[in-house]
Symmetry: C2
Amino acid sequence: MSDNAFIPQWVIERKRDGLELSEDEIRAFIAGFTSGTIPDYQMSALAMAVFFRGMSRPETAALTDAMMRSGDLLSFEGWPRPTADKHSTGGIGDKLSLMLGPLAASAGLAVPMISGRGLGITGGTLDKLESIPGYNTRLSTEEFKQVVAEVGCSIIGQTARLAPADKRLYALRDVTGTVPSIPLITASIMSKKLAEGAETLVFDVKCGRAAFMPDIEQARELARALIETGQALGRKTGALITDMNQPLGRTVGNAVEVAEAIETLKGGGPADTRLLTVELTAMMCELAGIFADRAKARRELEQRLDDGRALEVFRRMVKAQGGEPRVADDPQLLPQPGVSVEVPAPQTGFVAFIDAREIGRLALRLGAGRKATADEIDHAAGVDRLVQAGERVARGQPLMRLLAADTVRAEALLAEAAAAVRIGEAPPPERRLVLEEVEG
Amino acid sequence: MSDNAFIPQWVIERKRDGLELSEDEIRAFIAGFTSGTIPDYQMSALAMAVFFRGMSRPETAALTDAMMRSGDLLSFEGWPRPTADKHSTGGIGDKLSLMLGPLAASAGLAVPMISGRGLGITGGTLDKLESIPGYNTRLSTEEFKQVVAEVGCSIIGQTARLAPADKRLYALRDVTGTVPSIPLITASIMSKKLAEGAETLVFDVKCGRAAFMPDIEQARELARALIETGQALGRKTGALITDMNQPLGRTVGNAVEVAEAIETLKGGGPADTRLLTVELTAMMCELAGIFADRAKARRELEQRLDDGRALEVFRRMVKAQGGEPRVADDPQLLPQPGVSVEVPAPQTGFVAFIDAREIGRLALRLGAGRKATADEIDHAAGVDRLVQAGERVARGQPLMRLLAADTVRAEALLAEAAAAVRIGEAPPPERRLVLEEVEG
């Protein structure tokens, strides 16, 4: 073996011993992993060493770049509109992409958005969109670009050709205890987002009981890693850290979340849902140079929700992707559940707290989610008409409705559902939805 | 998935997070790895987590036990003689097994010894024995037990049926940066040794420039782990930490080391070689209850070297394993090198230090060792007539002889050979061969 030979175990050993890997080492390792010359057992050992030793920003950027280049790269260079996208680390009732994409497009951005499916208690934008009859999340790259060009926004699923190294690495991390590592999470998120070609990226890093990052310190660390890695690779980036102790909005599921998204796109919807949609889109527009400042961006975007321009983009996107556009006017066209069962409040008082984690579990057990990636989901299942913190309820009034295929399934969860809502004697302090803005 | 299901990644995650694994978890993991239901990428991730988090003694014992039970277990229960074996962590010129086995047998022990091959600069007992014409290191388990019963001692190679989990795990660790971990090293050594069935085990933990454990702290840690794990699994154990900054004896190679071993078995041989053979065998005999105390054991063993009883066991072992027993009387029957080239001393003075690492490399490049496991070795190659520290040399007198297939190969290494021996003006302080005894 020559002194210049690339020996994968030497790279593993250097990381294990706390040394910084070079860009060349990282690139060669990921190239070998993608082509199959570096076996999974070396990749998983390196991932575990990274879990313990971390990665510097240059290492994280090199890893992200190598994973991004493992497949196709979309390019929107020379397009008339600035391109932008958002990524959320995932939460309960988080239907923001459904509004943010159309809203940003209505303000002049081009939004090529590649989303994921739900797993465990966390929902996925693709599953929600697929509850719209006919909506096709599997466009070719050309079709995807076409929809973005014509409508301003398209939301599809990850293709095998975009960042395939990430797909393989994520599956491997999932079964080798190497998921919770900031540099690996960063490279996973960023490699896909960067391959989409968007110039501006905003991140919604969820923090709280039902979030991947339960505490603020870790959320901050991830937000900074995402922002700085994006900048190192030439993008404009920003992040909000937002509360995920309680669910977003009054619905958790798939069809019910689409219905709530449509309500919000019509200028209605729950206050928290509207507020966070506007905040993230405003940050995105400001970074992309669409509006001069944040306050102006907020006002302009609120107008576009209220006057129907955002909804019109949504309608056109659904149509362009083969879906039934009339759902925008008549949410009854979405899948309807077999039964809906009200959960009565066990006492009178003020809603003090709604446990997002418990509500996520509830939706999962009602059929709205997947325990394993191969599971089928019930698009009509979930929770709607959920009360929100601060609201007054009288004993026996409904706290939420459980939507399920049959009564047995729903009624078995009544006690659990009631237990997810805490009722107190006085109104709770107001919920802080945006915990922090992390600047690039 | 039920709550009781064994999920390999949960075990990896628990170790990653610094929790102690249960005996059941370790047993199930190793059983799955052995049967193939747990893939290499999960095993390597666990091994890396163990590298960082370590293992408690009960965990190490459980791992050792599980690996030991992955294959056949030899049993000598009910035998008239106590069984014992020695393990060395490997050094340069370390031919001790060749004398220790027969010597211990001559004192009344039964020694079922399973040895390894050399790799890199470290020699292997099997390669040395295979330089004896006809000697067969691949006995069946039954033949092996037969030779131990008849002769008192047998030395063979690792079979695929003894601790197969170790064989697979070691190959995996070698390419995933997970070799240097005390619990993994301990389980690897001990699983094989325990599967042999010996009741008493002594360890020669080498320490120094040419040893796997360069510093005394690590050597001590490994020695304690070996001793305590053996005791946890019901064996009598002891360990010496011995110097491996300088080679043992005056020969390094294969046939040359057998010749030196025979010299030592005849009551001659270099002082260091004789001393360490007696020390380790005496510890073994004392632990096994053959002699009342160490001093008596030393005296008895020295007698057995001097009066030919140990040599006689060696001769019978060679014969029982198909080898030419006359080598015991005429070492010229061993393979002879194509050429032998003397290395002249560049100056007059006292030999201050011989760099074991450099001598090991020299022997390797002369053809006596392997760079990769598939390499062929030249049994006649190596170094002999090596000076020892404290000896006086005059300029031009030989420091050693290089034995090789041809002159070109030997002469290319002359300068390097001379540089491995440091000559000073005054005699160096006496070498401490046994650095410490670690008690069980």
